[in-house]
Amino acid sequence: MTGKLLYFAWVREKIGKGEELVDLPGDVSDVAQLISWLKTRGPEYEHAFERADIIRTAIDQTHVKPDARITDAREIAFFPPVTGG
């Protein structure tokens, strides 16, 4: 499966890009597994997801929890807790 990933704020800065298309291994089926797999892709990912517990995830522009399934996702976004307003 090919997935579209988006990164915002310091997650984006640490990874060094805002968006990418990746080929996901077949055994990656939820958000937590996706983060674990991303951390194996290089030191910039390891650094960005070091504090994985505070990183928020959205699937198809809706907030989700770490156990959310990603199988049918069109776009998956990772970002720090929001600070607008």
Partner: protein, 152 residues
């Protein structure tokens, strides 16, 4: 009405947009959030602030919050405007306007919109200090905690 824009807004203009020509409104509440010179209580003076957001999701999330407010209170109208891009101390960041027949509904809905916007809408602030260093603003646990008030 939802708007995400780099441009400034005018409070009177936005009030007029909701209320002009109507006689069924009795109460209008506005909340304006502005950039403070020392935006984080712990930090020193800042020279500017940059607001990043998640285009598409931000608008959807604000629309969800607005729909929820209209389901909870009898409102004649609501407006949410949030600026993006580079802002300076004293500049406007966000505007919420609520119109209702009665003041309690207008006040509560405005607070509700701001509380949810603060914890759900996909905006991130980066502050630039006088020495040129940039820091992403940390989320405040207090913002998450106030949501308990609306869980009923």
């Amino acid at each position: 009405m939802i708007r995400v824009q780099p441009d400034d807004f005018d409070v009177s203009t936005e009030i007029a947009r909701l209320s002009d020509g109507r006689t069924d409104i009795g109460a209008i509440v506005t909340f304006t959030g502005t950039v403070r010179g020392g935006a984080n209580d712990s930090a020193g003076a800042i020279t500017s602030m940059t607001l990043e957001h998640y285009p598409g999701m931000t608008e959807k999330e604000l629309a969800r919050i607005e729909t929820e407010a209209n389901a909870r209170w009898p409102l004649q109208g609501t407006t949410i405007i949030h600026r993006i891009g580079e802002l300076n101390p004293g500049d406007n960041i966000v505007l919420v306007v609520t119109a209702s027949r009665h003041r309690r509904a207008a006040f509560e809905a405005a607070e509700f919109l701001m509380d949810y916007l603060k914890t759900r809408a996909t905006f991130w602030k980066k502050e630039t200090a006088a020495d040129g260093s940039g820091d992403w603003v940390d989320a405040r646990d207090a913002d998450e905690a106030v949501l308990a008030r609306w869980k009923k």
